[in-house]
Symmetry: C2
Subunit: 350 residues, 2 copies
């Protein structure tokens, strides 16, 4: 089953390969009758143009890559397919931030006629994983933290890169979300609508995003003339650390009115911990999260949180990347995307 090429089609149609190429790429340049002949020949032979040859000749592949963390694919899947009997761990049941963003990317790629390449090959001995992806595409979207500085430098030397979140850099464009305002609005809601006075803050300051959330929190409390509590440390994605944080809060001389968590996942774990301790949410203490994941919307009580525009992040990233690929280097840094307050019932029944 030798592969059918332009040469085969050209021969059958009785034209040159250039004409075949034109027939597919610029049909208006070809006489109607010739076009019909070529297409008939192609159809008869089952011709499928090679994207490799096309990409090489054109200097672009027509594809965009998305690169995220390896750990999104859980580790215990490093075994043959036939072993997979156990269902995925619970955390994975819900679409995560990265999934939602990817969806946005997918939608926008299709709109613009780009193929989407998912971070693919495992790292070979000499090429880091991301380089393998970078070689296949005209532009790369990367989640903050997924790229080492070295890798970013190397990749940006060849193709434009858009990073999602993190710090702004000069070698890559960045899509930012206004975490600070989001958290500000949330905290203000707690103060103004619910009259909460004593707060606890559970989370971390490990990335720009988390720092911004904290800033928004401090700003809102400051504006209300309320004492800003210290950060009770808990790491995103580590429920045990949230449980410890809640224990710490329960050991305080006085229970706070509200516990503000810097992720939904953490907030949900906190609610469980509080319940276990015999407390009612929100009656005894309010709890809020950040992100807007599905689990929060389905929880009881419905989690009050800050909704991130995840799908939009993905779409905007493609938009910017497409501009960069086409050489339109859209002026200046894009405005950060805005979050919206999502009021559930976990923040108080008022």
């Amino acid at each position: 089953m030798r592969k059918v090429t332009v040469y085969d089609v050209a021969e059958l149609a009785g034209v040159s390969i250039a004409t075949v190429s034109f027939a597919f790429t610029r049909p208006d340049k070809v006489k109607a009758e010739t076009l019909r002949n070529v297409m008939a020949a192609a159809d008869q032979l089952g011709y499928v143009p090679s994207a490799s040859a096309r990409g090489l000749a054109r200097g672009r592949t027509g594809a965009i890559g998305i690169y995220s963390y390896d750990y999104l694919l859980d580790p215990d899947h490093d075994k043959p397919a036939t072993d997979t009997r156990t269902p995925a761990p619970d955390g994975r049941l819900f679409p995560l931030y990265a999934d939602e963003v990817q969806r946005g990317v997918q939608i926008e790629c299709r709109r613009r006629g780009y193929a989407l390449m998912l971070g693919g090959n495992r790292a070979s001995d000499h090429l880091p994983h991301v380089i393998e992806v970078a070689g296949r595409v005209d532009g790369l979207i990367a989640f903050a933290g997924a790229l080492t500085d070295g890798a970013r430098r190397q990749v940006t030397a060849r193709i434009p890169v858009v990073e999602l979140g993190g710090l702004e850099r000069d070698d890559a464009r960045t899509v930012l979300v206004d975490n600070e305002s989001g958290m500000f609005d949330l905290a203000r809601h707690l103060v103004e609508q619910h009259g909460h006075q004593r707060f606890a803050y559970v989370g971390e300051l490990g990335t720009e995003e988390f720092k911004a959330r904290r800033r928004g929190f401090e700003r809102a409390l400051g504006a209300g003339g309320i004492t800003v509590p210290d950060v009770v440390p808990a790491h995103a994605g580590d429920d045990a650390s949230t449980l410890r944080a809640v224990a710490e809060i329960l050991a305080l001389p006085q229970l706070p009115d509200a516990i503000v968590c810097d992720t939904d996942q953490s907030a949900l774990a906190a609610i469980v911990a509080l319940r276990t301790a015999g407390l009612r949410v929100p009656d005894d203490v309010a709890v809020t999260g950040f992100d807007g994941i599905l689990a929060g919307r389905l929880a009881t009580p419905v989690l009050t949180t800050v909704l991130q525009p995840m799908e939009q992040v993905g779409r905007v990233a493609v938009e910017i990347l497409a501009g960069a690929i086409d050489g339109r280097d859209d002026a200046g840094p894009a405005l950060p995307l805005t979050c919206s307050l999502f009021v559930g019932s976990s923040c108080g029944t008022h």
Copy 2:
């Protein structure tokens, strides 16, 4: 920013391009010192090998494609990214069958070092969408029904194709799920464990899968000597049709003991309809589904259903495809993957 090529690296390292190529692909064939030099030069220049050139020279791309339905990306997204304010419709909040399968594909691709190409370009005037994808990959995974006969013929002429579900064909391999046994087990459970006698069946017979489910149902009832009810028609994904079906059932002279729906989505809609009519599930009537989607597990009552091995479907598909790509045409049709009964509380409290 001219692209860095093997030539540049070779020149800087003082070797031929062949040596550069060897350094990357078969490092053991190169003297240690040379290898170091080449790598240093590559690193210094920011060399990223072109997958297009590589694919052309090698005759394979190292990527696998997955092709599903366009309508999984909802239609109202055909507008610029900046307009996206409204959240996705509710149905999309949950990971669907296709998402779970894709996840399995993704995991297995990574394990095997394949890049994954998502159905990409919109159809051009002359090339159907799928052909664009097919030109980029060494093998294609397609959901049943996503491929027209013509497209399948054309694609299979160039690369191996694995279809997920549907009919077995001679030009493409197929990953099958044993829908019949799954539904058989479910129905038997209803009969034997709960002693249900009078049944209603809501669903359709539009595809092989649905027909198999119905067969399993008929077989189980037959085995129990129970009268098999007709299919009350309802279309997957169309909740309104389920509501009509429930109305039809409620109009019967006698309420059945159990309503067996051929999808979870339909079952969940049915539960809502029954509640609206003032009936309790499962006390007044039991309801069951098929698929094992997340929403069912989170519903109250928890939906009794048949769990499809979705992730495994994806993984097995890649496994088969990889075999076909390597010329190992693994003997015979693979066994259908088995479903498992998931007993919630919607089938009766017994």
